[in-house]
């Protein structure tokens, strides 16, 4: 039976979707979020692969159907962007200031790591694209000579962590304006965070989507300059 489960294509799919909806149902019953569905599902599937003996390739055979839909779903972030366009247009200075501050802080953090850990140039480059959406980040890491698989892992860590902690952290630091909340989430935690911002509200989702694009472009421009300076 175990052998059957470990070779079943549909098991990986069902495990991903089932654990996600289990967490969502628990949250709905409790009336507030107790378990982050993305984190819960990732941990269960990860444990099944690390400890349960399932091959990642077998898992992915089932899970790829979710992965394939991620591109059109990300494209659909244009919908809240379109609906909230007037509000965003009115707040261009806030969008620009927030994203520039976030990207600058991130780059400063990377430089700090460079000196603190005396990183090699490829290791430093690996960290540079960490706050941006996986596809841009991976490409950028490859192009500049970093380690793309570590960049990917760092980006995912950033995204999941950001998505989980965003609501309490924003509350704690009294970021109450929905637009500022969305910008904060999108700049720090890209699409994974944005999936959470969409749950917080329409304005948050739109601002977060815009922040992904702006932050991504700023990083694409800034990262090669930093990489050259550090190299």
């Amino acid at each position: 039976m175990n052998e059957f489960l470990l070779s079943s294509t549909w098991f990986g799919f069902l495990l991903s979707v089932g654990t996600f909806f289990l967490a969502r149902t628990v949250n709905r019953r409790c009336g507030k979020e107790r378990i982050n569905p993305l984190l819960f599902s990732t941990v269960v599937c990860g444990l099944e692969i690390l400890l349960g003996g399932m091959e990642y390739e077998v898992y992915y055979q089932g899970a790829q159907y979710l992965d394939v839909l991620l591109t059109p779903a990300t494209i659909c972030l244009a919908i809240p962007l379109y609906r909230q366009f007037e509000l965003l247009k009115k707040n261009i200075p806030a969008v620009a200031a927030g994203c520039v501050a976030g990207v600058a802080a991130h780059m400063a953090g990377c430089l700090l790591m460079l000196f603190l850990f005396s990183l090699e140039s490829p290791e430093f480059i690996t960290l540079l694209p960490k706050s941006i959406t996986t596809a841009i980040g991976k490409g950028l890491s490859e192009e500049l000579g970093g380690y793309p698989s570590i960049t990917m892992a760092t980006i995912m860590l950033t995204g999941i962590f950001g998505a989980v902690v965003a609501p309490p952290i924003l509350r704690l630091f009294r970021v109450t304006d929905p637009l500022a909340q969305g910008l904060a989430i999108g700049t720090s935690a890209h699409a994974a965070g944005t999936s959470r911002a969409v749950e917080l509200g329409e304005v948050q989702g739109a601002a977060s989507s815009l922040a992904i694009v702006v932050t991504g472009l700023l990083t694409v421009v800034a990262a090669p300059i930093l990489a050259a300076l550090a190299g």
């Binding site: 991903s16 569905p37 990642y56 990300t74 927030g98 953090g109 892992a153 999941i160 902690v165």
Partner: protein, 121 residues
């Protein structure tokens, strides 16, 4: 049938984004090309929102679920990541918090100043 039609339009836009990426291979992912394309189609009125709204909202709602396989792929990098685990963890956790807080506070300060402090806590 309505849903199938909407899904078809979104699939076509995704495909068009793939073509643009092929013709213009900048380090920008297909999804961002597509996001900009869909935004332009909506903004110019070429594609009315109703034509994709239901399936689009469904995909947005499901987005955290669609990210599960990508985040599970984290474990495939566990072997290679060990050499620089500490900087990765610091940047992934502390760095993310700092960027989030700073961006939020800066953006909020700009918004409030422009509103003339009318909504002060």
């Amino acid at each position: 049938m309505k849903y199938l039609h909407q899904a078809l339009i979104l699939a076509a836009i995704t495909f068009a984004a793939e073509i643009i990426k092929y013709l213009l291979p900048l380090p920008i992912p297909v999804s961002i090309y597509g996001l900009i394309l869909l935004f332009l189609l909506l903004k110019t009125g070429v594609l009315p929102l109703e034509k994709i709204e239901d399936v689009g909202n469904l995909l947005l709602e499901l987005m955290p679920l669609l990210l599960v396989p990508a985040s599970v792929s984290f474990i495939t990098a566990l072997d290679t990541i060990q050499a620089m685990l500490l900087p990765v963890l610091i940047m992934g956790l502390v760095g993310t918090l700092l960027v989030m807080i700073l961006t939020g506070r800066v953006a909020q300060a700009v918004i409030r100043r422009r509103k003339g402090d009318e909504e002060h806590e």
